[in-house]
């Protein structure tokens, strides 16, 4: 049954693989009501010239609704459905389209430094930076702690504003946008080669996942598929990326709980994965190895055996690290019950990845959409209910094990054949949802008839995770923030674009 079929409109031609409808304001409102009732999940909300698009998901079905903004405004989604709020503020900043009735009208990406406003719409001269009014908290003894954008560690920049009562956090609000590079602006008019490289640089730790999402969206728009072998190699790279990131995260989370031994050992395993990736694909992060049409590097026999060695090594060493994590009470004391995220919120926000799966949201794009080759591979999606730091660690532990199994299966079943198919040049629109290590990444694009990108939107999973960090941290102590933050490990660059 197609839940989303209720949202009727004029179907746009050449939009693949899911439908896109031009809808009336009434249908738009129905869509908002459905979000509020939990009938479907918001998967994306982005601007275009004179139009806003909303991607909705129900089960494994997706649909895009497009509402023309005749007078430069559209009915706010965020007014009733909080997950849309920051996406709307972004639309306002980039396109100058106004969400009518929105509660929060502060700018988001635009800090007043660009020298212009609405860079992707009808641009205007910029205003000078204005002070940013943070949300407040009132009560006796409440004080503010401002942190960032420059943090103490080697991490991305962002500002956190804490309202605390003694040690206890009453309210946390993040202000992001510091790493805004104007990627969607650079995408305009780029050919597929350059656009794919840009997509692979949206969030460095997810370069493979982004490149796959971009490639799949382009291939959908061109109504073609990459050859089998390329699809399998993509999945191989995606699992190596997941493995490396999860290993790094498990170590880093424990390190933020002052247990640096775990970091030391996990970092060694992570380095092993990166070296194997370098040996097989010529780049430690496998950057620019996935392109529309296929992949740029084939895997030779030496590569296969080095990956088999890697899997064996991680399999041998990882269980003792897991036991160490599980048996160290001082560490458990920090991670159990800390930063608990309620299941209801994870569901409302459609939180992907370990954030959602640690709070009972049983979703994984690899399983739900079963894009190749995952339709031919067997794996389990682990879901925990507790929603605390510990649960987010366990989701990662289980996913390390699953990725090892997937790599095994891929190496065993890798089909022969070409790794690249020629690309045609034609106009069309395409969309893809791909499971990165952090959660589902959405890419939507429109190609013109000259092989160039007209509009491309990339939605990082962290859009729906950052606000949840703010909810999960409430009532925790300030000193536990780094630990909670690391367990979410949201992307700054991915959201700032």
């Amino acid at each position: 049954m197609r839940e989303l079929a209720a949202l009727t409109g004029r179907q746009v031609e050449r939009h693949h693989p899911w439908p896109r409808m031009l809808v009336s304001t009434d249908r738009w409102q129905d869509a908002i009501n459905g979000l509020v009732e939990g009938r479907w999940t918001l998967s994306g909300l982005w601007g275009d010239v004179g139009v806003v698009h909303m991607a909705l998901m129900a089960g494994s079905d997706l649909s895009v609704l497009s509402l023309p903004c005749l007078d430069g405004h559209f009915p706010s989604v965020g007014r009733l459905h909080a997950p849309a709020a920051r996406l709307e503020r972004t639309i306002s900043d980039l396109f100058g389209l106004v969400p009518l009735g929105a509660i929060d009208t502060r700018p988001w990406l635009d800090h007043g430094n660009w020298g212009l406003r609405y860079p992707l719409g009808t641009s205007q001269d910029g205003a000078a930076p204005e002070p940013y009014p943070f949300l407040s908290a009132e009560g006796e003894g409440i004080h503010q702690v401002p942190v960032g954008p420059v943090h103490a560690g080697i991490i991305e920049p962002g500002h956190f504003r804490f309202h605390a009562n003694g040690e206890t956090i009453v309210r946390l609000e993040a202000r992001l946008g510091y790493t805004h590079k104007g990627i969607e602006g650079l995408m305009r008019g780029a050919d597929l080669d350059r656009a794919s490289k840009l997509a692979g640089r949206v969030s460095g730790d997810s370069t493979v996942a982004y490149a796959i999402a971009f490639a799949r969206a382009s291939e959908a728009a061109l109504m073609m598929e990459a050859p089998d072998r390329a699809q399998w190699l993509r999945a191989l790279m995606a699992e190596l990326e997941r493995l490396a990131n999860h290993l790094g995260d498990i170590g880093a989370i424990c390190n933020d709980a002052s247990f640096s031994l775990m970091l030391a050992h996990c970092a060694i395993l992570r380095e092993r994965v990166l070296r194997a990736a370098d040996a097989c694909f010529g780049h430690r992060l496998m950057r620019d190895c996935v392109m529309p049409g296929g992949v740029t590097r084939d895997l030779d026999l030496a590569g296969v055996s080095s990956l088999k060695l890697l899997v064996t090594e991680v399999r041998t060493r990882f269980p003792s690290l897991v036991a160490l994590y599980d048996n160290t009470t001082s560490l458990q004391d920090r991670t159990v019950a800390t930063g608990a995220l309620k299941a209801g919120l994870a569901l409302t926000f459609g939180a992907g990845g370990y954030v959602g799966r640690a709070s009972g949201r049983d979703f994984d794009a690899r399983r739900a959409l079963a894009y190749p080759p995952y339709d031919q591979l067997s794996f389990e999606v682990s879901v925990f209910q507790e929603g605390d730091v510990n649960a987010r660690v366990w989701v990662r532990i289980r996913e390390v094990e699953q990725s090892l199994s997937l790599i095994d299966q891929i190496l065993g079943g890798l089909p022969d054949g070409p790794i690249h198919a020629p690309l045609s040049v034609q106009a069309g629109e395409g969309m893809a949802l791909v499971e990165g290590f952090r959660g589902d990444i959405l890419v939507w694009l429109r190609l013109n008839g000259e092989g160039r990108v007209e509009r491309c939107h990339l939605r990082d999973p962290s859009w729906f995770q950052w606000p949840l960090l703010e909810a999960a941290i409430e009532g925790n102590i300030v000193a536990d923030f780094p630990l909670c933050n690391k367990s979410f490990n949201c992307s700054y660059s991915g959201c700032d674009l």
Partner: protein, 172 residues
């Protein structure tokens, strides 16, 4: 039980990271760095890393410098939290307009003498993002840069190599 675990886990990787891997280039680099540090500076070098809008790829590789394979602290190189404690500012990213002031302020907060290393193609000339109205481009447009390290991202080995070069220069 725990003790056993510790011993088993710690035995192999930590003792022979550089030599056993047969990574000759790295071993060579390591000994150079050691000589350069001691001979020229005779002290340690503190590094403050600053992400001025990177994609986070550079940070991953800079973080890797602290793993057992590269273990940069052996050479007296260490990352510090405050710019007030730093000799070197390691900048990544195409310097977004939203980070320009933070970059300048961080640089100004550092005591003299100080050096700046633009790390990664973005910090060198804006990389892939050059020309965007949201970025400044090269870090050198905001603060004086002493050394550049190419790559997208540069590998940990080439970052170490870059630091060797810097040691040579800073002692002149």
């Amino acid at each position: 039980m725990r003790r056993l675990l510790f011993q088993a886990l710690m035995a192999s990787p930590l003792t022979e990271p550089l030599s056993r891997d047969g990574d000759a280039a790295l071993a060579e680099l390591a000994s150079q760095l050691n000589r350069a540090t001691q001979a020229r500076l005779g002290r340690s070098l503190s590094i403050r890393e600053l992400d001025a809008g990177s994609c986070n790829g550079c940070e991953l590789e800079i973080n890797a410098l602290s793993n057992a394979y590269y273990d940069l602290e052996r050479f007296g190189l260490r990352f510090v939290a405050s710019p007030r404690h730093a000799d070197v500012l390691m900048v990544t990213g195409p310097v977004t307009k939203n980070m320009r002031d933070a970059l300048r302020q961080t640089y100004e907060a550092m005591p003299r003498p100080k050096w700046v290393v633009a790390t990664g193609d973005c910090a060198i000339d804006g990389g892939c993002f050059a020309g965007s109205p949201a970025v400044v481009g090269a870090a050198a447009q905001v603060i004086p840069v002493d050394l550049v390290i190419h790559g997208c991202p540069p590998s940990p080995a080439s970052i170490l190599q870059g630091l060797v070069a810097l040691m040579g220069q800073s002692a002149k």
